[in-house]
Symmetry: C2
Subunit: 119 residues, 2 copies
């Protein structure tokens, strides 16, 4: 599994770490997956249940990309039957939490500001 984030970091003809960060967290379900895993480790089916509208295919894709980028880690417990897999943030993923929280707060303030000015 290749890293997905570093491949296109020079898309604009120059190194841009901001783009690397965006590539890591941008994806139809990545941000909300990260929100879930910030709070607790979760199993595949648990994640699926808390993501209404997300197909198994998409969940697999998003999870595998986050894992390839070393943001989350997958744990398979072979003692369970049927199989049990769970996902949790890596240390690198944990380091992203403050950024995510800052973006969440900015978004909330942004929404409030626009509600005042556009009504």
């Amino acid at each position: 599994m290749m890293l997905t984030a570093l491949n296109t970091q020079t898309r604009h003809g120059e190194v841009c770490p901001l783009d690397t960060t965006l590539k890591v967290i941008t994806g139809k379900w990545k941000s909300i997956i990260l929100c879930r895993l910030m709070k607790q480790e979760l199993r595949y089916s648990e994640l699926l249940r808390t993501l209404p509208g997300c197909t198994r295919r998409m969940l697999s894709l998003q999870l595998s990309q986050l894992e390839a980028d070393h943001i989350i880690q997958k744990e398979v417990d072979p003692t369970y039957t049927p199989i049990k897999t769970s996902y949790h943030l890596t240390e690198l993923g944990q380091s992203l939490v403050p950024i995510i929280q800052a973006m969440d707060q900015w978004g909330a303030q942004y929404i409030k500001t626009l509600e005042r000015t556009t009504d």
Copy 2:
């Protein structure tokens, strides 16, 4: 011109300001446009010149979305001929700068970490 950011904030069936923020800055050229405009006001053609690979169509699209979301402001100077337009960050756009810088720093650290661990 409609806001682009607020329309899908409940995509997952719940309000998620993080997604609003991501929607504002995610786009094929938005992040690098913001990087440019953080430093100085620029004209359409100046922006285009510093974005190798970006077509005029895409530049127009990305700029109009950023403007619709009140992140940048467009200024048309009618005294010039031919027409002269320039773009600069709004106050709301300025408030995004610390987030962008934090994401840029995280990305740089991320790249360094992965270079150590994957080599």
